[in-house]
Amino acid sequence: MALMAAVAALPDDVARVALDLPLRANLSALENIALIPLYQRHYSAAESARQAQAMLDQLGHADIALLRDPDMTPAQRFVTQLARALILKRPRLIIDRPGVMLYDVPYPAFIGQLAAQADMTGTWEIFDFNWNQVLYNQALHSE
């Protein structure tokens, strides 16, 4: 409960990837990401789609662009949510309890790979239960 309260109290300059911030179900991965440049920075639809595709390319998941939320695997859904958070270009990125979203992959290693590919400025923080610490230790030792 304390964890949830802490996440809810986060300031506006934090981008979150969390189970309680889902994708728009009737939009494709590309459209979900392109909404940000389209509405926040007023780019054209074509330019917004290009930026969204570039973000997916950067994360190594260009092939999921046309998938909608119900057709994605948990990992693909997580990548789309992460791309949407990254395109917000906020100084902090918080991944909130990744285990509940990434139940189909060894998630500390998966997030590590994405972070290496994304090559972003700013900090990524992971909020997780402390009993999962061992998973992160294993991922660090295997590298």
């Binding site: 911030l21 728009r24 179900a25 909404l35 940000i36 007023h42 949407r84 917000l88």
Partner: protein, 264 residues
């Protein structure tokens, strides 16, 4: 005594509920109206979503709708003509046809058609968005749900109902002419004179306002009903049921008020 108190409490709760729903709808409408006046609302992205909404609400169903309008118009015109002949009122047949079909029946049926097809879909989608937290996710990304999701649906609904009712009306006028005068051009002058006599400025303005209100009812009510949905998946069907009942009552009320203003 206990029964009386329970009945009064229940009635009070219902009346309070109606007022709460009415207030929520009015507040939503005012917010949408203010956003419409805001220059920043009118960007390319919102315009694109409006066009998409008009396409899904009106263009996609055009062939089915026109077919349905054609059959209904032909049936009603045939009934009016044969009744007029029976009573020796053939001279009034064209006026009666136009008044019944173009001014009353077709706009009403158009609103029902759009409500059943798009209103129910909007209600379900907004309710699911509410239950799944999608609106909070949009707000977190600073994508305004009002501009992106709701306003385009309201505008799309109004434009679609007005345009579909206009098309159905034109089709009915053509059907009326063909049924009364056949392919002969002889009836063109009296028929157009009848049309001009009926469609004065007040009637045209009233028809436009009525269709716009129908369009608003079939979109605004489903959106607000969807937003009222508690965050429980099993409440989505209840939300759609409530929303569609309200849409039905709103459409009937608009039609009854319009008839009363015109004929009483």
């Amino acid at each position: 005594m206990n029964f009386l108190a329970t009945s009064i409490e229940s009635l009070g709760a219902k009346v309070t509920g109606w007022f709460t729903v009415g207030y929520a709808m009015l507040a939503f409408l005012v917010k949408a109206g203010l956003l419409l006046l805001d220059r920043t609302t009118w960007n390319r992205a919102t315009f694109d979503v409006v066009v998409k909404q008009v396409y899904f609400t009106a263009v996609q169903i055009l062939h089915v709708f026109l077919g349905y309008a054609l059959v209904i118009s032909w049936l009603i015109i045939t009934i009016i003509l044969s009744t007029a002949r029976d009573f020796g009122l053939t001279a009034f047949a064209s006026e009666m046809t136009i008044r019944v079909l173009v001014l009353e029946l077709l706009p009403f049926l158009t609103a029902l058609f759009v409500a059943l097809r798009s209103g129910s879909a909007i209600n379900t989608e907004v309710a699911l968005m509410q239950v799944n937290n999608e609106l909070e996710a949009l707000a977190h990304c600073k994508v305004p749900p009002m501009q992106f999701e709701f306003l385009p649906r309201l505008i799309g609904g109004v434009v679609s109902v007005v345009m579909l009712a206009a098309l159905a009306g034109l089709l009915a006028l053509l059907m009326g002419y063909l049924s009364i005068y056949g392919t002969s051009a002889a009836g063109f002058e009296p028929y157009t004179r009848t049309i001009a006599k009926i469609f004065d400025f007040t009637i045209m303005a009233g028809l436009l306002v009525k269709c716009a209100l129908f369009g608003l009812a079939v979109t605004l009510i489903p959106v607000t009903a969807g937003l009222e949905t508690p965050k429980k998946l099993y409440m989505v069907p209840v939300s759609v049921l409530r929303g569609m009942m309200r849409v039905f009552f709103a459409i009937v009320t608009i039609e009854v008020v319009s008839l009363a203003l015109k004929y009483v």
